[in-house]
C-alpha cells in the first residue's frame, strides 16, 4: 500500500519546510525548556545531566514526570512507568502517521522518528502535502530539539532570575499549546469534529468523577474511535 502523499519534494527540501514551519511552536517549546532548566536546578541536576536528559529524551512531559520522582535512591520502576504513561500518546501519534512516511529507508525511519513531535504530526495530517513527510517531521523535530536544548541551558544557567517568578502559573501552558494544535485540526474541517467531541465529553465526565489521567486518555480515545468506526460502517451501508 502506498502512502497517501507521494514524495515530490526530497528529504532535505521537506526538512527545510519543517524547520520553517516549526518556528511558532519553538516559542512554546522554549518556554517549557526554560521551566525544565529551572526545575532541574531545584532537583539537584548538574547542567550536564540536564542537557544529556533533554537531548536524549526530548520530551517535556516525560522529563517533568521523571523529575517529580527524582530522589535517591532512584525509584527506577516508578520513573519508567510514569514516563511510559505520560508518553503513551506518542504511540497514537505514530499510529496516525503510519500511512505518511513511505519511500524512506527503514534506517531513516528508525532514526528520524525519534524526533517525532505532536505539532509535526498535526501539520502532516492537516496539510496532506506532496512532500517527504519523514523529512518534514525530522526538520520540524530538529528545530524544536535545538530550541529545547538552548532553552533548557538558559533556564538552568539563569535559574536564579526565576526565583521570584510564579512558575506554577505556567503549568497550564501544556494544555494551551495542545489547544492551538487542536484548533488547527478543527479548522482543517475534515469532518472528524464529532469524534473529538465524543472524546472530549468522555474525558469531561471522567475528569469530573476524578479518574486518573492515564485511565482517561485510553478510555476517551476508545470512545472517539468507536464513533469513527460506526460512521465508517454507516457510510458503507449507504
Amino acid at each position: 500500500m502506498q502512502g497517501i502523499s507521494p514524495n515530490k519534494n526530497g528529504f532535505a527540501e521537506s526538512g527545510w519546510i519543517g524547520v520553517r514551519e516549526s518556528l511558532p511552536f519553538c516559542i512554546s517549546t522554549s518556554l517549557f525548556g526554560v521551566l525544565f532548566g529551572v526545575a532541574a536546578v531545584a532537583s539537584g541536576f548538574s547542567v550536564a545531566m540536564s542537557l544529556v536528559m533533554s537531548g536524549a529524551t526530548f520530551s517535556a512531559t516525560a522529563q517533568f514526570a521523571a523529575l517529580q520522582l527524582w530522589v535517591h535512591p532512584l525509584p527506577l520502576g516508578s520513573i519508567l512507568l510514569s514516563v511510559f504513561l505520560v508518553s503513551s500518546r506518542n504511540i497514537l501519534l505514530g499510529l496516525s502517521v503510519s500511512n505518511y512516511m513511505d519511500g524512506n529507508s527503514l534506517l531513516a525511519r528508525f532514526l528520524c522518528l525519534g524526533l517525532l513531535s505532536d505539532p509535526a504530526v498535526v501539520m502532516i495530517l492537516r496539510e496532506k502535502r506532496s512532500i517527504n513527510n519523514l523529512g518534514y517531521a525530522f526538520g520540524y523535530g530538529a528545530a524544536l530539539w535545538c530550541s529545547w536544548m538552548i532553552s533548557v541551558w538558559l533556564g538552568f544557567t539563569f535559574s536564579n532570575l526565576f526565583v521570584e517568578a510564579n512558575l506554577n502559573a505556567l503549568s497550564f501552558a501544556g494544555p494551551l499549546v495542545m489547544a492551538t494544535m487542536m484548533m488547527l485540526f478543527i479548522k482543517s474541517g475534515r469532518g472528524q469534529v464529532g469524534c473529538w467531541a465524543v472524546s472530549g465529553l468522555v474525558a469531561l465526565g471522567m475528569a469530573l468523577l476524578d479518574f486518573q489521567p492515564y485511565i482517561i486518555l485510553p478510555t476517551a480515545v476508545i470512545a472517539g474511535v468507536i464513533l469513527v468506526l460506526i460512521q465508517f460502517e454507516m457510510r458503507k451501508v449507504k
Binding site: I27, A66, R89, I91, N99, G114, F172, L176, S199, G224
Partner: protein, 108 residues
C-alpha cells in the same frame, strides 16, 4: 561514581522508553494499515488524545487558566496565529492571578 553510573543508566532508560513510544506506534500502524476501516481511525487518534488531555486540565483548572484557554481558542479561530495565541495565553497565565488579586483588593 556508582551514583553517577546509576543516574546515567536511568537517563538512558528514560530516553529508550520515550523513543520506543515514538516508533512503536508507527511500526504497529505499518502492520495494521491494510485493514481498510483502520485509516479513518488512525486519522482521528491525535485529536482524540489531545481532547483527552486538554479537557481534564480545564476541569481542574482555575478561572485564569480558563480565560487563557478561551483567548487561545478565539485567536486561533479568527486568525490562525499560533505565535499570538500561545504568547497571549502565556501572558494571561503569568499576570492573570496577580491581576485578579489586585482587582479584588481595589474594587471590592
Amino acid at each position: 561514581m556508582n551514583k553517577l553510573a546509576d543516574v546515567g543508566v536511568v537517563l538512558l532508560l528514560i530516553a529508550v522508553v520515550v523513543y520506543l513510544t515514538r516508533i512503536s506506534g508507527y511500526f504497529l500502524g505499518q502492520r495494521l494499515r491494510h485493514i481498510g476501516r483502520l485509516r479513518p481511525v488512525l486519522e482521528v487518534l491525535p485529536g482524540c488524545a489531545m481532547m483527552a488531555l486538554i479537557v481534564p486540565a480545564v476541569v481542574h483548572g482555575s478561572l485564569v487558566e480558563f480565560t487563557a484557554l478561551v483567548f487561545v481558542i478565539t485567536v486561533m479561530w479568527r486568525q490562525d496565529n499560533i505565535v499570538f495565541a500561545t504568547f497571549g495565553g502565556i501572558v494571561i497565565l503569568f499576570i492573570g492571578e496577580p491581576a485578579f488579586v489586585w482587582m479584588q483588593s481595589n474594587f471590592s
